[in-house]
Amino acid sequence: MTVIADPRLGLVTALIAIVAVAQLHGLPAATAAFILAAMLGGVTRAGWPLARRLVHVEGFMLLLFVMLPLTMPGEPLARIGPLSVSAEGIALAALVALKVSASVLLLAVLVGSMEPARLGATLHALHVPERFNRLLVMTARYVDLIRAEAQRLRESMRARGFRPRSNRHTWRSYGHLAGMVLIRALDRAERVTEAMRCRGFSGRYPHAAFAPPALRDWTASIAVAVTGLILLAADRL
């Protein structure tokens, strides 16, 4: 079940809500944002896949909890040898973790796993410049291929006895590898464009038009966006 079925509204609503969450300064507002976003996630019954997506992010957040208390100057709570753990650091790490988690939830729930083709049509409908749009959609299509190419190059390097070490030869070889991947990607882009031209492409991709969003989508969109803005106002007052 999706909260907002219309992809245009979903994208714009997610953008407004995330911008609002990103501006929050206080822990109470950030906690509220996280809880509300989690509740929104509960409505979709996405359950496990959604939780797994969140777990991916929390790994990075864990890093914050390690780094920030040790590096933020402030009131020391505890000492580990020459290092001191600051209360300000812990508070900041919690704030960032709550805001990031809320944003990831919002993005997952409102935009979800939109296919690249649909994303292209959506951005087109939102009047995002065609060039930027095509860059995004083409990247999504070809990133696997480019990765596979890089992988094959790496395997052939290994097959010839290459072992990464911290020396000049390794850095130089990785430089060559990166350069070669770029050159091949450029060649590939050249050929894809030619194949498109051969099929009569003249610069404008024929996107499907969208039906106007349903009333239900408008209601959900306004509810989410307004909640975000109210949270922001409460945080600032």
Binding site: E115, P116, A117, M138, A140, R141, Y142, D144, L145, R188, R191, V192, E194, A195, M196, R197, C198, R199, G200, F201, S202, P206, A208
Partner: protein, 236 residues
């Protein structure tokens, strides 16, 4: 009747090095011409030059009786020549099969419903209607090749140019490909190292060697040969 392709005195070079020189070629409707020659002889370059993707260094290119020099002239006639690229991934850029096959008809100005119908018809004709909803980069090599061909057939071209069509294609899909090409009514230029495939499809052959395009012959004759083989069981 006008020729589909007429080349005369055509030369192509890259970075000051000649690749093709003084090439002459005529292709009439219904002809299926095989281009053979060693790797790097310039077969792909010749096909690309015919479509105006590679700039020629001299000579003339006439497509469907019209002299082509500028990108605009080529661009107008390109959709009538279906070009199957050597690497299917160059051609399949849309996320799903049906979108990719409808891409050409949409460019020709058909509306969405008509383009979809043409795409479905083309997929059905190749016996791969069931691939329509699949993600294009997760197909097998043979499936990719057939989808590429469907993308060309959906545009109803007058002729096809195929660059190594059987490369990376499994036996089952190869037979489908061959069957589809055999029943294609238009003309064809075929570049392939697959001798049996060429002999089966082509009506005429030319060879590219040392930058020249020369007539070649397709003939068939009975083979007599000796070989060693193993018999299982008691000698008899």
């Amino acid at each position: 009747m006008t020729k589909l392709i007429e080349l005369s005195g055509l030369s192509v070079g890259r970075a000051g090095r000649p690749i093709l020189s003084d090439v002459a070629l005529e292709l009439a409707a219904g002809e299926r011409l095989a281009l053979v020659g060693p790797n790097g002889a310039g077969k792909t370059t010749l096909l690309r030059t015919i479509l105006g993707l590679e700039a020629s260094g001299g000579g003339s290119i006439r497509l469907f009786g019209e002299e082509c020099r500028t990108e605009k002239q080529f661009a107008r006639l390109r959709p009538r020549i279906g070009f199957l690229f050597q690497d299917s991934d160059d051609q399949l850029f849309c996320p799903t099969v049906i979108e990719d096959v409808s891409f050409g008809p949409l460019n020709l100005g058909h509306d969405r419903a008509a383009a979809r119908a043409m795409a479905e018809e083309a997929l059905g004709r190749l016996g791969i209607a069931d691939l329509a909803g699949r993600i294009s980069h997760r197909l097998s090599g043979g499936e990719k090749r057939l989808v590429c061909l469907a993308g060309l057939l959906a545009m109803q071209p007058d002729m096809l140019m195929l660059d190594e069509p059987t490369n990376g294609v499994d036996a089952g899909n190869g037979e489908r490909l061959r069957e589809a090409l055999r029943s294609f009514p238009g003309a064809m230029i075929l570049v392939s190292h697959d001798a049996e495939f060429v002999a089966d499809l082509a009506t005429r052959a030319m060879v590219v060697r040392d930058g020249r395009l020369l007539p070649a012959e397709i003939h068939d004759h009975a083979h007599t040969h000796r070989h060693r083989h193993i018999h299982v069981g008691s000698g008899g």
